[in-house]
């Protein structure tokens, strides 16, 4: 039984990571073939460093991901706090469902409707130029928000409401109580929401495709290569992104377990 379950896990890991392993391997191929490995070379990495149209697209993607993650985390935290403080249960349910609809909605519907909205408003206020950086950013914040809210709400539910009342009693202003007491206790939710928003924004294709205008992001740039053939420096870039995320996650976990240890130590005093 134990062997079976091990095989099962091994298979799952294989399915999850084999494609990435193959991509990493072929990013070091000396030819552009994806069939024959002709020799080890870092050629595609130096090609990538030269390929500044791709790097521009990457820069756009990173800027959008970082900004939209920060903004949607701030807005989402405020929204989550507001929702959890609502007394009217029907209204609360209603607001919750409204927040969740964008998550259930197909990306293509969100993308097209956002594009139509931008064009409508742009024409209404008489702008000549509006699809671009701002519209991609707004679109990404829009689809990130529900995820941030949903990752923070459970933390708020766990939070003892008397905690911030106690802080108020002890002389905190409501704002200070919020930042000193509430935020630290829901911080894991906030960080999770942030990371989720960041990665969602990083690899969004469909919604960006409809809203980017003149601000092309990496996924839409790579898609435009499919008339000819996707160059192997895309594998090199994907490998770098994968390794970066991987290392960051490991670091994050190490730091987290360290701080947890510290916390249990302080508690035992």
């Amino acid at each position: 039984m134990k062997i079976l379950s091990r095989i099962y896990i091994a298979l799952i890991i294989l399915f999850l990571y084999a494609p990435i392993a193959v991509m990493v391997l072929f990013s070091f191929n000396s030819s552009s073939s994806v069939w024959v490995f002709e020799g080890f070379s870092a050629k595609w990495y130096s090609e990538l460093a030269m390929d500044d149209s791709m790097l521009t697209a990457l820069r756009h993607t990173l800027i959008i991901a970082a900004l939209s993650a920060v903004i949607s985390t701030v807005l989402g935290t405020a929204a989550a706090v507001g929702i959890s403080a609502m007394r009217n249960r029907i209204a609360k349910k209603l607001v919750m469902s409204v927040t969740q609809i964008p998550m259930m909605n197909a990306d293509i519907v969100t993308g097209i409707s956002l594009m139509l909205l931008f064009i409508f408003i742009g024409r209404l206020i008489g702008l000549r130029e509006y699809l671009g950086f701002h519209t991609v950013l707004i679109a990404h914040i829009t689809f990130n928000l529900p995820y941030v809210i949903l990752s923070i709400l459970p933390k708020l539910r766990q939070l003892d409401p008397h905690l911030s009342e106690a802080a108020l009693d002890l002389g905190c202003t409501p704002l200070k109580a919020f930042f000193k007491v509430v935020v630290p206790s829901i911080s894991t939710g906030i960080v999770t929401g942030f990371i989720m928003a960041f990665t969602l924004s990083l690899d969004d294709f469909v919604i960006s495709q409809f809203t980017y205008g003149t601000y092309q992001t990496l996924p839409t740039f790579i898609y435009s290569m499919t008339k000819r053939s996707v160059k192997p420096d895309v594998y090199a870039l994907s490998t770098i992104i994968f390794v970066t995320v991987f290392v960051l996650l490991i670091l994050y976990n190490i730091l987290q377990s360290k701080s947890e240890k510290k916390r249990t130590e302080t508690k035992s005093y």
């Binding site: 552009s32 073939s33 390929d51 130029e129 509006y130 003149t214 435009s224």
Partner: protein
Amino acid sequence: MKKYFAFLLSAVILMLASLSGCGYEYAELELRGTYDKSLEGTELTVYNWGEYLSLGEDGAIHVNKEFEKLTGIKVNYITFTSNETMYSQLKAGGTHYDIIIPSDYMIQQLINENMLQKIDMSKISNYDLIKDDYKKLYFDPNDEYSVPFNVGMVGVIYNKELTGGEIEHSWNVLWDEKFKDKVLNFDNPRDAFMTAQMILGQDLNTTDKADWDAAAELLKEGKSNLQAYVMDEIFNKMETGVAAIAPYYAGDYLTMKEVNPDLEFFYPDEGTNIFVDSICIPNNAENYDAALMYINFLLEPDIATANAEYLGYASPNTAVIENEDYAYYQNEILYPAEEDMPKVQYYHALDSETTKYYEDLWMEVKLY
């Protein structure tokens, strides 16, 4: 510890973001036209096919950087994957492009819909380099709206090891049962129908529904022979010998041949499709004068040669065709001699009823 994490993340982001085209060495260009910095500080938005411009790969010329250095105009370069994507972006509005490079039939459609503006040819001093064959084309009979950028023809690529040597120079090979399950065809309606229309001897721009029905029947018949409808997957399938026969663009055959020397190529005797991608300026362009400068720059012999070598498609530019140092100088596939020139037909923009009709037929074929 979250602070560390956030710090690390932002450090990595900044590092990745600041990576940008390091180490490009500017070439020494010999220029025919004159360029000045009168428009320095302005921006030019160029909307082109993906992988259609030499941007410094393998030590080649980086067209946009050279242009930026020369004129001080910042090039905002974005890419599309099909004429139709480009069209819908342009039509939707909300943004402007100063330069677009669509294909023939799309240019016809854009002109019909009043979406292009005339190019002031008196400012394009290099226009005299364009070969006469590519002037006064059907979609722009007075050469007012477009400047040819590259030219290509569709042919049949085959693997001589897998087919057992030379094969008949006809579209019929795609239907030949000898090659069952080793044949590929285009995964877009116009090109796939073209292969059948050629066998049936039709006009590619027919509006007769019976013609399209007949072509669809033929495609359905050929489907049992077919391995798959593909677009860019063709590169891998042909290079690795997974498929033996496939129609594709001549320029792309040359790229595949470099990887797999067993690949051969012919233009079918029945005739084939020719396309021209031309540079145009949309109606809502914001930097018209910079656009003219950019068009003239793309026609510069050094720039056009670098592009033609990068792209692998044929060039309409005589300075490229007659340049003995050009990698595809007198290449008989890209530039067939007059007597070897296949019978060619351009695609025209079809009326919406016909378009809808063949697109529905195409769905039927794909689901057959």
